[in-house]
Structure formats: C-alpha cells, structure tokens
Symmetry: C2
Subunit: 636 residues, 2 copies
C-alpha cells in the first residue's frame, strides 16, 4: 500500500485563467454569502441560545450546526492561502460562540441542547449528531492548520474524546450519515492520537453488523426526532429504510458489512463519505483487505453506475444509487455533493495506490459533474445535475437544506490539494492547473511552476527549480482521454508508453518539462446496457464533456444526429460563458421538407439535411436564459 | 354536408376470427363482471336508498350512477344482436330501480338525493349531474332501440325535459364534463323532439362564453362537493383550473368558444365527447361553420397531438392534451376512454363528410390505442396506454374510478356500427371485418357478406346479393397504410386511383368484390419536432402498430436499431397471444465485445452485430409476464 500525501494547500499557489476567477468568486461571493446565511438562517442564534442555557426554539434543519462548521472549514482554507485579518476575526468570533455552546462533558449539538436534551444518541439513524461532530472536527483541523490556533481544535478534541468514551460501551452502532469517520482520521493526524483512528475504524466496521437502525425505527416513539402528530423526522426515515414493510438498510450502506458489499448502494453522499473514511482508516491501519473492498466498489461504480460527467446517484427519491446501468438523463439526480464526495474518495484511493485512474476520475468530476453544480457567477447552485432538460430545470440561490453550496465552497477553497502528491522521492503531477508549488520531495524543496491553458489546450509546461540538485521522480498523468501525448524534458523527447504515469527520473536542478496532450473531439458511446443512452452519443474534448443548449443550435437539440464522422471543430470563444472552447460544425438533422401536415411518415420517404451545431461545455449550461439541453445526442 | 348513417347494429352480424372472440369475451366476462360490480360497489344500493327517500351514505364516486347506465347501454347493445332473456330481465330490474329513484320533477342523481339535495346545479364544473344525465339518456336510447321498451326512455325523457326547463333560465352554463350534448341529440333522434337538439346546441355554444366555472370556484364554500375539512371534490377542481393562481378553463375546453379554439386542449375525454356532441349538433342543424371548426381541431389533433396508436392526451396530470408534438412514450397517458371518445367523434365526422381519413383513424385507433386497453382475456384494463415501459406498468382488474372498462364494453358491444354506412344510394364499406350485413340502400335491401383474415391479411371478399337488382354505389375504403391495392368486381379489375374511396357504381344483383390491400412492413418516423421519438422508428403492418416486448427479443429492447432496410418478415403464430402475426428478423444491435469493464468508449471503437428480433402487435403487450416494451425503436 502506498501512502502518498497531497502537497498541502499552503505550498501551492494557483494562478490559472480557468480556475482562479472561480476560486476568487468562491472567496468573495460564496463564502461571504454563506457567512451571512449563518446569521439569517438562525444557525448562530442556535449556538448563542444553547450557550445561554435556553431551551426550545431551535431554527433550521436538525443538522444546521454543520452550516457553521462548513463555513469555518471553507474560510480556513481561504485563510491558509490568503492574508485576510477580517476573515480571521470573524472566524474567531464564530468559534467563540461554538465553544460557549459546548456542554461540560464535551457534547455539542444545538438541536439536542435546545430541543431534546434527554434523547441524545437515541436516533443515530437520522439525527446526525455524529455527522455534525464530523464537520466540527474537519472545521477544527482546517482552522488549526491554517492559523495554528487551537480554540476550535480543543472543542473538537473534547467532543471526540467524549464520543470515544460513549461508543461503543454506552451506545453502539454507526451513524446514519457518515462523516465522522474521515474526520476522526484527520483529527488523529492533527493530534497524533491513534485512538481516533480506532474509533473511526469502529464506525466503519460496525456498519452493517448491528440491527441498531432497525431497533430505533421499531421503537420510534422513544427516539429523538419523533413527533406524536406526524412522526416527525424519525418517521420520515421509514420511507428510506422500509421496502414493502421490510426493513432494508441499503439506504445508509448498512445492509451488509463493507467487505460483503458488492455494489455501491444507497444514498450517494453517504456512500462517498463512507468509502472516503474507510480509505483513511485503511491508510492508517495498512489494511489491504479494506483497500481491496474499496477498489471492488469503485469498479462497480465507475463501470456500471456513473454518469459520463462523473455524477453519481441516479434517483431523486433517496438521492441514491439504483441499479447497474440505470442512468436516466432527464431525471438524473447526480447530486453536486455526491460528485464532491467522489472527489474526496478518489483522492484517497490515489494516495493509497498511486493509480492514475483515480486522478483521471477526479479530473472528469471536477470539470463536469462538480463544476456544473455552481453558476458562473458563483451565486446559484444545482443540487441535482441532470444531463438533459426541457428548459424547466434551473439552478437555485440557496437551499433550505443547504448542503451543496458549502460543499462547493470547501472544494474550491482547497483545490490546491488535488494538483500534486508526494510519495517518498516521487512527485505526482495529477491536475494541470497554472500554478506554483513548493513540494518537498525526499527532503529537498522543489519549486514547480506549471504553465498551461488547460482545459482548452493540452500543452503544459512545468519548470522545476531545486534548491539543490535532487534525484527524484516526477510522474505526469497522461489523461485518460488522450491518445497522443508527447513529453519532452529540456527539449528532449521522452517515451510515453503504457497506461500509467509517465515517470521522469533524473537529478532535477533547473529543468523544463513540456507535455502536449492532444485534445481531439471524441464521440463517446455508453455501454449497450444503458437504456437511457441507446442510440446516443456524447461529445468530449480533453477533460470537458459537452452538451447542446438550444440557444446555440439552429434546430431543437433533439434533432441533431452526430457520429464519429461528423466534422466538429473546437473554437475558443472569449465572449461566451466567461470564455469557453465550443465545438462547431454542421451535423445531420431530419429534413423538414415533405412533412407538411404529417405526424408520421414512412422512414424511407424521409430525407436528411444538415444544420449548424454549437456544443458548449456541460458545466456552463443554464447560465443564460432557460432552454432545452442534452448531453447525449442522437447518433447518426 | 353529408348525412350518412351507420348501418344499425341489428342489421350487421359479425363472425370474425379476430373480433368475435373479443366480442364474446366482452359479453360473457366483461359485461357480467360489470353487472356484479353494480351490486358490490354500492351503485344499485344508492338507487334503492334514494328511492326509499333515505339520506346520507352514498357509496362510490359522485358520478357512480353512470356505472349502471353504462352497463345498461352495453347490455342493450348485446341484446340488440343476441337473444338473452336472462339479460333482458336483469335489465328490467335495474331499470325499475332507476325509475323508482327519479324525483317527481324528473331530476335524477343519487349522490345529490342522498348527500346534498339542497345543492343541485351549484357545481356544474365537477359534480357531473349533466354527465350522469347524458349516460342515462344514452342507456335509455340503446335500451329502447334494442327492446322497443320505453321504461327507461320515459325516465330519460322526463329528466331531459326537466333539464330543458331549468337551463338556461334558472341555471346557466355548460357541464364540466361533456356527455349530455351527444346524448340529447340521440334522444332527439329517438323521440323526434327537436328541442333536445336546441338544448344540446345551448350546451355546446355556451362553453367558453360564461364565467360560470370561475364563479363556482370563487364561491367554493357554497357549492356542492365542498368539504369544510379539506375542500373535498370542489377543492380538487382548483388544481385543474388554476395555473399560478389564475383561473384557466382549458382543462374543460372552456377557455374560449369552440369557434375560437385553435387546438385540442384540456382533458382528452372531455374534449372528445365535446367534439362528438358538436358534430351531432352540426348534423342536426346543418351548421357548416361548426363542422369547419371541428375539422380544424381534428387537423391539430392528428398532425400534432396524437400517438401513432391513435392514443391522445399525453399528460397523466389532468389526463390531458399538452402541447404540439409533446408525445412522451414512457409517461404517455393516452387514456383508453379518450381513444374510445376519438372513435365516437371520428364516426360522426365521417358521416358528415364521407371523408375516408376519419374511417382510417377509426381503424388505427381500434386496432391499437383502443384494443391495448383490454387484456386478451377481457378481465384487465389499462387506463393509460404507455408506448414504452420498463416492465413496471401493467393492466389492472377494475378501477375505483371505473370509466374505462364500461366504455370498452359499450364499444365492443356496438362494433357493428363502424363497419358500414349509407348515404342515399351509396354504401360505404369502412372496416374490414368478417360479417354479414343487410343494409338498405336507396330502398333496396342488400345482403353484404364480407370474408377476410384482416388484420393479418389484406384480402377481402365482399359478396353482394340484392333482393332485386339495384343501382347503387359501393365505396371501399383503401386503407391509409396501403400503397398497393387491387380491386376486382366479378373477376374484372377496377382502377384504384386517388386518396379517397374506390367507388363501384353498378346495378348490383349477385356480385362479388375482391379487394387486395398489400400489407407491407412499414418503418415509420415521427415528425422531427417530436422530441420523444428523435432517432426512433415504429413498425407497422396493415392496421397494426408493433412493439418489442423483451420476452421475444434476444437483446434488451432498447438495443435494437432498425431502419427501412432491415429485413422483417411477417409470420403468423397461432400459438402466440391468441394468434398474432409477428414480425421477425435480424436487426442491428451494438456488439458487446470490446466493452469489458468500460462504461463509456469512443464510438469509433464500437462494433455492431445483429440479434434476433420478434415484434408483436402493440395491442397484445403485457399479456404475459411483465417485461420491458417499446413501440419506438432506435433507428439505425
């Protein structure tokens, strides 16, 4: 098992035409708005009132505390790379509030403090105490790493210690929504305390082995979240957990122990956080079997249950995985948070294996399934990312259950982490983003300067300066979509073979790597078993999945019929959608002549003509007036 | 304006391999079951209790009286062509019950009698008093024509007279659900009383000219069907009639006067009954403008809003027409009752115009959109007729709101009416069904014997024997799907030109007409504007629309790619689905080789192979175990 580490945020500076404006918008607009929401939604007031020992009057969803925690995490990532005293002060204020609300024994959850103090830990399934704790810990670790301060880390550690006391002796079972697992491993790494790994391991391991959730639901009147009038939150879980009157834990990946799970099942975000946490535990424990189980589940997901955008979780109901090859386009759920969760999981799998395919999938997800989740101006969000729309589906400002926007914020604010990783004397270059980084490889600090117009152009220049000449391997990811890569070091051609990384071993001093990844337009088909895409193709170029949006097409989007022979040219349009490379060409469409007043006609009498087609990047759809959109186009 | 008349039920005897078993099943199973339902559903008990002057305790939907009326109508049609003393007696008993429940002034509705006697005529929109009256009248006319008895006709006439008194002086406005209009014209024809035509004309004319429905809904607490707890039936109308808080009468075709309606809109069954009634009024009044308006609406329906099966009304919500070219397959509503209503309307349009296209559409609807509504064994029914299914959609036994099964029953029991029509000295042969008929043409009775294996074979022999030699025109419909027709009279070839009927003028004595309508397999496309069928084709042969059902196909149905060049052979299979002609062949499908563990691959690397395909008639789907089905197949 490998144990690569990402080059930390603080050692990477992104200055990229594509990503930097998005990261700036995230910092200036999204994270600011997120902060305002903490006040207007009542989230901070919950902490104030809990701190004052008040009761009742909790506002928002029962896991609203995480709004504050996710903001702290995202803002801390910003602070790690940007000097912002005002932001730092606001962070301190919010952290003080949180600390004040912590109970003497370490427990912290304002919903329970205000509403049901007597029913702590009675509804692990739905009440998300451990989920909230997990986000608190992630926020605390991020804040500590960014500022060196310990105020929040102390709160998180105290809560974690309390949880460690309670579980599994007083309370047994896994949380309904995973999150604490990966957070505890982060805490272990931040504090050096292995027992947090053990606790994470317990939560991973116990899932699918106890009847905890079933017991809770059977005694529903005795658990937190139960409302005698309508059953409340507790009752709502029944829909997710009962199928024809029979309990089924699949929704929360509790249908079987992890090692017996053959396919990715249930609520997609829960699944991603689960697998990410399990990967962390595997990294810490060196459990090769656990890694093998995760690799098996990854194969199921990527070969049978994933949209071409990297989106996952087909069904709106339950926000969940369904069956192999069930990938409807116009009703796709493909939650933004699930795409983000997939990025989290894939980074960890990469770090454990050094396998390029995980970094490839991160790229696919970042540029497509994730990026579509946020509008170009950073103010509107998709919860669900459909791959086909009649024009009636659009992004929204901020949701009641605002999980996606803060998740988007923390990924943008920590994008640096995905570019490079170091394992011993090997530096992996995983994502191509214009940036400067100062990784330490085998004890020597390198200055790595990446120059590129990615994702529109596949040329990448990487300048390496070492503080002193250093023998090291620099491994470049040849993207999965690239059929023709050429790489030179200081002008000398390097052989590019195989499916893995191109590993450049030398003593680095002051050198230049030039890589050219030919970006051809690729017409892609789905596996024949995918009914939704029968007779359809998608267009890709480089890491970008394209779509047709009716505003750009001469004919309605459903009328185009494209195949590998259709001549589509990439054209960069600075004026369009903040600057995008579009694909343009004439594509076959059915002739309208001859139809007159017919609704149905013999096919052999129908003729074909061509019409102008402009395909735009999928991530950029729904940033103008609403109109029909398709990723999967009829094949000619 | 033409004024052709159908050759009456009593003058036609169907003895056809395709239809007779269905008509028998209808008589022996469906109509019997329908009768049992009258007792078990509480329908007859409602009449008994109303007759006894009781109050409260009404059972079933508020228009449940029509269950009895529709049974009487269907049973009367049976009685017109079959000697069945037991059935006649049961009819008399039910009719006695109904007569006993009639109020002194002629009013008759057991819901109002039992539940809301003070709120008659306060909710024309939803409470269906006139709709019930219409079915009473249709039943009465059918019973009278079948038996010569007047018991029910007297009840109907008395109620109609009462309605004629009340409308429009005491109560103004049109009924929410049309039906009374066509019934009143039937009553006028049965009684010779023109004032029923005037009343029908009033109901047709006033629709879209008053704010009656809007007023009712604005004063919802004062109208029948209002329940203070949840608004009741009255409140439920709001969903259909309000769009973003604005009243919109489209659902009941009340958005504009008929002459201003440009497209078929709203609830499809209401629309069909409306237009059928309007055609009846046009026939009686000779109103050419009214006919022209109907022809305009027919053009809109058939060129923009109709499934290839003849099914209409795309949307489940509101069971209604939506927009031009909006014809989704997997969510198609295409209600069986709407298909039946379309048959009603088209017969009337034919009789007013002698235009073949209406008889063509009746054929298409009978063999496809209508016939799919009932299982082969006659015991299960589709309300909604989808054109694509993942296997989860199946027929049901009998519905709570049992409109379709009795409607199916009355159409089967009166199928004779659609075969022939007479206008002056012209006899139209509209449907090809093995049968004997004795139409009177220009004063002379002809004996017309049709022999055919339709719909599997396009050969039709028609033997004519006249009681005395008679000069007459016999006009044969050349079906719309037929490109190559040949017709002989007594072995001599007749020229078959043009798009209309082939009219054979001669002095008929003892003659034989032989027609051969070549039945080729036709691969059909939809208008390019139909997004749901983009890149897809349907298979037809003769009047039959085909589908793929997964049970018969080597590959999943979505994988087949068919075009006009695909070699598909008709094969008659006596053993299958009560005997059907299937289409068999090898059709292109994507090769499975090369996919291994890929979910997405470049199209140019994908290969094609062929797989065995058997297409079955659409009407016969879902008569075996549940599986996926498609009418519209990917085009190659």
């Amino acid at each position: 098992m490998l144990n690569a580490e990402p080059v930390p945020l603080t050692d990477v500076t992104i200055d990229d035409e594509f990503w930097s404006p998005r990261i700036e918008t995230n910092r200036k607009v999204t994270i600011e708005y997120q902060y305002e929401q903490l006040e207007t939604s009542g989230c901070l007031e919950n902490f104030r009132r809990a701190a004052a020992g008040e009761t009742g009057g909790f506002e928002g969803f029962w896991f609203a505390d995480t709004d504050a925690y996710k903001w702290i995490e995202a803002a801390s990532y910003v602070l790690a790379t940007t000097d912002d005293p005002d932001l730092e002060e606001r962070l301190d204020e919010v952290i003080d509030l949180i600390a004040a609300a912590q109970e003497d024994d370490g427990y912290l959850n304002t919903y329970f403090a205000l509403e049901e103090p007597e029913r702590k830990w009675t509804n692990l399934n739905m009440m998300h105490e451990l989920y909230c704790a997990g986000h608190l810990i992630e926020a605390a670790v991020a804040h500590h790493r960014a500022t060196g301060k310990t105020a929040l880390l102390d709160v998180a550690t105290k809560f974690a210690d309390y949880i460690d006391e309670v579980f599994p002796d007083e309370v047994d079972g896994a949380p309904g929504h995973q999150e604490i697992e990966l957070a505890l491993v982060k805490l272990a790494r931040a504090t050096g305390e292995d027992r947090y790994v053990d606790l994470a391991n317990y939560f991973i391991d116990v899932r699918g082995r106890t009847d905890r959730f079933e017991r809770e639901l059977e005694n529903i009147e005795d658990i937190a979240g139960y409302d005698p009038d309508d059953g409340g939150i507790a009752e709502s879980a029944r829909g997710a957990f009962y199928e024809d009157g029979e309990y089924d834990g699949t929704y929360a990946q509790a249908h079987a122990p992890l090692e017996e799970q053959e396919a990715v099942e249930g609520h997609a975000v829960r699944a991603m956080y689960f697998f990410a946490g399990a990967a962390d535990v595997a990294a810490e424990t060196g459990d090769d079997d656990l890694l093998a189980h995760l690799e098996r589940l990854w194969r199921n997901m990527t070969t049978k249950r994933m949209y071409v955008t990297g989106g996952i979780g087909s069904a709106h109901e339950g926000e969940r995985f369904t069956e192999d090859y069930d990938l409807p386009n116009d009703t796709a759920y493909a939650e933004t948070c699930a795409a983000i969760g997939s990025v989290f999981w894939n980074r960890r799998l990469f770090e454990l294996t050094g396998d390029k395919k995980y970094a490839d999938l991160i790229e696919r997800t970042l540029y497509n399934g994730f990026l579509a989740g946020v509008s170009l101006d950073g103010t509107e969000f998709f919860y669900d990312n459909r791959l086909e729309s009649d024009g009636s589906h659009g992004r929204q400002g901020w949701f009641d259950c605002a999980c996606c926007p803060p998740n988007v914020a923390r990924l943008f604010a920590s994008l640096e982490r995905y570019l490079y990783a170091v394992d011993g004397r090997e530096l992996y270059v995983n994502q191509y983003v214009e940036s400067t980084a100062t990784p330490t490889v085998d004890g020597t600090e390198l200055e790595v300067t990446q120059t590129t117009d990615y994702p529109w152009d596949g040329e990448v220049t990487i300048d390496i300066e070492a503080t002193e000449p250093a023998a090291a391997t620099i491994s470049l990811r040849v993207p999965e979509w690239c059929d023709e890569a050429s790489i030179e070091v200081n002008g000398e051609s390097v052989s590019v073979d195989g499916d893995g990384y191109v590993s450049l071993e030398r003593t680095w001093d002051d050198d230049r790597i030039t890589a050219t990844f030919e970006m051809d337009v690729t017409v892609v088909r789905s596996h024949p078993a995918v009914a939704a895409n029968a007779g359809r193709v998608a267009l890709e170029r480089g890491p970008i999945v394209y779509c047709l949006e009716a505003l750009d097409t001469e004919r309605p989007v459903h009328q185009y019929r494209v195949d590998a022979k259709t001549d589509l040219e990439p054209v960069h349009r600075d004026d369009l959608l903040d600057g995008v490379t579009v694909l343009e060409g004439d594509a076959p469409v059915p002739a309208l002549d001859g139809w007159e007043d017919d609704l149905y006609r013999p096919a052999e009498e129908c003729e074909e003509t061509t019409a102008r087609l402009t395909a735009i990047p999928y991530y950029a759809w729904d940033n103008r007036e609403s109109c029909a959109m398709r990723v999967w186009i009829q094949e000619h």
